[in-house]
Every structure is written in C-alpha cells, then in structure tokens.
Assembly symmetry: C2
Homo-oligomer: 449 residues x 2
Amino acid sequence: MLDKARELDAADELAHFRDRFEIPEGVIYLDGNSLGALPKATPARLEQVMRGEWGKGLIRSWNDADWITLPQRVGGKIAPLIGAHPHEVIVADSVSVNLFKLISAALKMRPGRKVILSEPGNFPTDLYMIQGLESQGLATQRLAEREAIIDALDEDVALLLLTHVHYKSGAMFDMAALTEAAHDAGALVLWDLSHTGGALPVDLNGCGADFAVGCGYKYLNGGPGAPAYAFVAERHHEALEQPLSGWMGHAAPFAFTDDYSPAPGVDRLLCGTAPILSVSALEVGVDLIAEIGVDHLWAKSRALSEFLLECLAEAGVINTPSLLQGRGRSREAAEGVGDAQTETSARDAPAPEPPPLKERGSLALVSPIDPMQRGSQLSFRHQEAYALCQALIARGIIGDFRAPDILRLGFAPAYLRFKDMARTAEELADILAKGAWDTAEFKQRAAVT
Amino acid sequence: MLDKARELDAADELAHFRDRFEIPEGVIYLDGNSLGALPKATPARLEQVMRGEWGKGLIRSWNDADWITLPQRVGGKIAPLIGAHPHEVIVADSVSVNLFKLISAALKMRPGRKVILSEPGNFPTDLYMIQGLESQGLATQRLAEREAIIDALDEDVALLLLTHVHYKSGAMFDMAALTEAAHDAGALVLWDLSHTGGALPVDLNGCGADFAVGCGYKYLNGGPGAPAYAFVAERHHEALEQPLSGWMGHAAPFAFTDDYSPAPGVDRLLCGTAPILSVSALEVGVDLIAEIGVDHLWAKSRALSEFLLECLAEAGVINTPSLLQGRGRSREAAEGVGDAQTETSARDAPAPEPPPLKERGSLALVSPIDPMQRGSQLSFRHQEAYALCQALIARGIIGDFRAPDILRLGFAPAYLRFKDMARTAEELADILAKGAWDTAEFKQRAAVT
C-alpha cells in the first residue's frame, strides 16, 4: 500500500500545508480532533502580542491593537466555516460556559417548556450543563437514543441539544432534518460543533439552526484550552437573554453603571474579559483553516480515512468483511456508538472476497462506514483499546482512547499524509498480530488519557 | 522634590525588580491596576509552552507538562498572597463567571434566603452577575451604601458580596468586621479581590471569609484578560454546589459518564478546559509577585502614593489643605466615592500652612487619605478627568479614567520609581496650570478608555 500512498501524496493539493504546522519528527499525529497541532505562525504572533501589544502598548492596546473587538473579529472569521454570518458568531469562554448561556436563553424563549432534549452518550459537558440548569430548578433533562429523538420531541421540549459529530463514534446527525423536526415541535435547536468546525463544512443558516457552540482547540488549532465560539441566528438577537450577564456583554461596559443592559446582538454573550493571548493564538489557527478551506479539508479527510480503512482491510485487522464487499452495505459496522443513519447510504458495488482476519486480534469499526455520514475520525472498538493506544503512541503514532473501549483516530488533513495512513495500518496490524499491546506497561491507565 | 525622589529611589530595596518587567522607554505606567506590565520572563515561558509543550508534546502534554493540574498549581501559588490554603484556590474562567458560580453556591447553602447584598457603585460586573441570577428568578439584589451595609444585613440575606478595594476610589473595606457582621446575620460573604490580590496582603482565612474571587490581569501581571481565581474556604468544600458543572469539574472527567458528579474541593469550580497559554502567562506573573512579596509591595505602594501626594501638595494642585495639616484629619478629602472609614484614621500632627492652590485648576482626592485605608491607587475627581488623563498619556504618563469624572493612578510598585512620582506631579501641575487638557483632541472620548 506504500506505493499507492506515495501516489496519493504526490497528487495531494493540500500537501504543502503540512509545512505550515510544527509536527515533531517521527510522529504521526492522529489526535488533531482532541488538540490541533501548532501552526508555525502562532509563536511569532504571540510574541508580537506579548512584546508589542502588551509590553509596549500596555493598556492602550485595548484600543490601538483592537483587543476590545478581538472576540467579534475572530468570531466573524469562524462564521463562514460554519455557514453563519460574521455578526452571528463570537468567541467567548469555553464550550461548557457557552452551552449554559444558550440553554438558558432557550428556556427564556420558550416559557412553559422546561425540557432540554439530548442523547445519552453525548459529550459529557453538554449533558452536565443541562444538569447544572436542572440543579437550579430551571430545566429538565430528557435523553433519547438517536433513532428515538424525533419521537421524543413534544410540547414540553424547549431545546434540542445535539453534538453534530459524535466525539466518540464520529457519527454525524442530519442537521437539517433534526432542526426541522425540532422546529415542528416548537422547540429550538442548539448544535455543538466541537467536532465539526474547521473539519467539515456545515450550514447553520441553511439548516435554520437557532444556536451553536464550538471548540477552538481541536480542528481550529487554537492551542490547548483555546476559547470557544458561539452562534446565535440573527432572528434571535433581539430576544436573546442569558444569565451570565458580565460587564463585557453590557451595552456600554465603560459607563460603569449599576444596571445591566445587554449589548446588541451576539456581543451580549460576552461575560468577563477575553483572554487575549489565547484568543490571539486561536485567530492564527482560524486564519490558516480558512485559507486552506473546509471543503478541501473534508475531501482530504475522507480520502485519508478511506485509505486507512483500505490498508487495514488489506492487513486483515478489521472485522468488517463488508468493508470489502461494496463499502457501506453493512449495518453492523456502524452499530457501535449509536449510529442510526447508515442505512441511508447503502451502496451495492460488487467486491472481492476479503482476506481472512488475523488470528491474534482485530478491530471493530464503530464509525459510520459511509464517509459522508461521519466526521473527520475513525473509531474502533477493542477490549484493550487503552493498551493498544499506548502501544501505538510508543511507536510514534498518536491517537487517543475514549473510555471504555474505543481507539479513536482523528484526521486533521492539513498536516497528514497518505503514507502516514499506510504506516498506521502497518503498525496497528503488527501490534495486533503480536499482541504487543498486552503488557502491564500499556495496561496501566493514566489518570488522563 | 526630585532630590528627595532620588534619595528614596536609592534606598528602595525593590528597585531592582523593575528590570524584571518590560517598561517602554519614556513611559510612566500608573495603570498596573487595570493591566499589569509584561514580566520579561513571560515571552520565554510562552515560547516554551507553545514550541515545546504544544508543538512537540502535543496532546501528551496534558500529562507530561501537567497542563491538567495547571489551574490548581497556579491557584495554589496565589493562595498565600491572599491568606488562603493552596487547596482552597483555583484558577478558572473570568471574575464574572466565578462570581456567578459562587453566588449560586451561596444561594444553595442558604435555602429560604434570596437576597444578595452589595453596594451601589460596586464594580459593575459584580452587580451584573447578581442581576443575572435575578433574571433566573433565583436571587434578589439589595444595595446599601457602605456605611449602611451592616444595617442592611437581615435574615433574608444569603450572601454579602463586596469588593475589598473599590475599583474607583481605592477605599478598602474592613474585611474582618464585615465578614463577622454578615456571619452574625447568618449570611455568607464573597470578597472580590480584583484590586487586592498581588497588591496588598489580605487574610481570607484569618477573617473567616467564605468565598473570594480575583483578577489575574491587574496586580498579578498575567496579561490582558488573564484568567481569574476563586477561593472557597475548606469548611464549605463538601457542600459546594454550583450550576456551571462542566466536565473539567467532574470527579472523573475522562470516564465520560452521562451524569455529573462533582470533583472534590475547589476542583468542582472548573467548568470547561482552561486556556493553557493564558494560564501559563499568569503563572509567570504570580511567581514574580510571590518572589517580591506582597508585604514589601504594599509598603512601597504606600510610600509611592504618599510621596506623590506630597509632591502634588507642594505643587499646590490638591484641594485638600488638610493633606498638609497632619495628613488624615480631613473627612472631606475622602467623601468622594463612598468612603466612610477615614475618621478612624485621624492623626493629629501639626503642620505648616499649605501653599495657596493654583489658579487654573486643582484635583479633589477621592481616595481615603489614610494609606492604610486604601488600596494601591489614588483617585482624583476633576470635571475634565477624561481630557486630563489623555493629556497625561500624551506626555507618557499612563493612568486611567473612570466615568464620569475620576482620574485614577495606580501603583504597581514592582516597576515604579519615586522619581516617576515627582515627574507625574510636575506634569499634572503643568497641565492644570496651563489648562493644557482643555483641547478638543483630549475631550473627544474614545469608545474605550
């Protein structure tokens, strides 16, 4: 497969963007969906912010370096990546805090309705923030498996809160269909785009979405713990009311009045003062992703993950024979972490007999087998997924583990090569064949993975 | 006064710490109470975090570089500066967001009580966060002038929320007395230490305080919008419940369970992922302040502000004759922005006749005249305070303006010299004498000041 990888790399029009990132020698980084790599331009930009804007400009830089409008400026740059208008997106706080603001806002807009509907196994913080409002007596959490969500929408539901691309399985919701169903039930919709923004195109306004939040430190390459972003459709700007009514969301913060009066539009989502160093780093990442283009990134992401699957199938370590039988017919391949959409993507091309599975171990694909139905990742179930992940890391291939048994490989295509896929498959097959993960060292779970 | 300034500078044991900060040539920076100056060590540290920890370490740095415990580590370093135990302080979010968490927690701990008591003219975000909870129907804001606060404490008050050093006047509350009064009424106390932490010593535990929040970007020199910190007295750790229950405050964030279960102690104040670049910059500032020592800083701050007052009185631009008549006897000098404590500090030394006030203008001191009763700043009232501030900035002296009519000069003593005070007084006197502030240019108010 290495020859084919070389051909694909040679034809890859995004290949040169790899040079815009710091990628350590010898590392294949398949965890850009957890923490994006460092853009080479970031340290120089931060140096300028520190020495120039902060060091020399001091307090004057709130005006002179436009720190005061940085959350709007970077939000405005994220907007076209997610199908929003610039004035509908702002950078602020964390995904969690923004969830709290927007769930609260939805409850205000749907008086008499208290239910926030989501799915079990959603990214934990999404559920925890519903539970936070529940602890205040203001919300009631309702969870429905993804195939039962539409049926769970009734006149008690104020808000449907879903993560567009599932963090664990990579399964993708049909944003337009779910949004429409929620609206039909009189509910609002809040999309968590943490595993979407910067990885694949999404059209919030085209789908009629009400609210969205997203993460800055994954596919946007904003750095560890980078601030998050939030979207509010223009039609809700005037009615938007949220309880984290800090001074930076005030119509006139520097009038220092005793009474809160919200700023126009999404500005009222601001609470405290934005962490300028971190937001500045995020801006560099966003600029770079915008330059490459999300459409291009997603196309390459699909090509990468499909090629990896091909290599894994060739090596006989995927227990999904149908992979080689027309790609996409099998439902069992996607049963993993609550995916209910694969049937819509069945294709019926004939295929050769798959090679027999290796004796010592194989992986179960839990991501949707149709690349149009999943985000920029592939997740595999293995009972020793943690040890397997550690064994890969020891060989320079960094993916991650998601409890209890998922090996997750993410594709941030701006800095990945097809030959990285071939080598990943080769190493994975070797580890599985030798049971090389089955050592005490790799089975000791770290506190954080 | 320049000769005296030189003597004082020569005797200043903290003088050498000025070299640890980037201070632009020709600038006298009297706004460290709004944005602390850049420590020289910060850019190198951030370079290491970016290129080493993020660039090379990638996702592994959550463990290998201890990013995951950074909020606790930096919080633990702030603790001794404010009279707390290391495990009682954590770095998280912004002051505003932390206020919301702790006001909410207090309401949970005092069921049946809904009133949050504060003072009018408190820093706006403190009041706005009460109003946020009011908009949720969970709290009732009650404001009482500072001399009436104790009388306003009754069985409806869940929490007394005060800013220890007033952002505008610099007036300081008696933390021990107010805390005791609140406790006597069955209420909890939350101190906003934004203008205290890193500037003057304070003893949260000695005073029996329940909660505190504080700012990272002022006297702690953490950089623009640096994350904030929060304190919870150990006795409240077990009962603490707050609605911003994000995944980083979970007992086991990486177990990815659907149900929130709070982490032990102050860790449950964490919500989303900490902005590591910004928290790392904050750590450098905190380390430097801890090395210098808050006691030393406060002693020098008082010496600086007293010397400035002496220079201003000598120049005849302070309309507080009593300044030269024993320093501290006058009540009118401190009537400005709600200070009711000056009478306790009267001193009765005899003094010479003051020189007559200059014809063209003078300043009214609104900070307490007793340096033990004020924070690390001096505030003056002048009807053209904004233009005056701009005229000073044009001469390289950066203070700030607080609406509607306050010129605020802050003393971050680690990088200020006595000769800076002499020059500030000289330029101020010159501007006032010439009416040099009275130009269209300086009277145009910027959007942000």
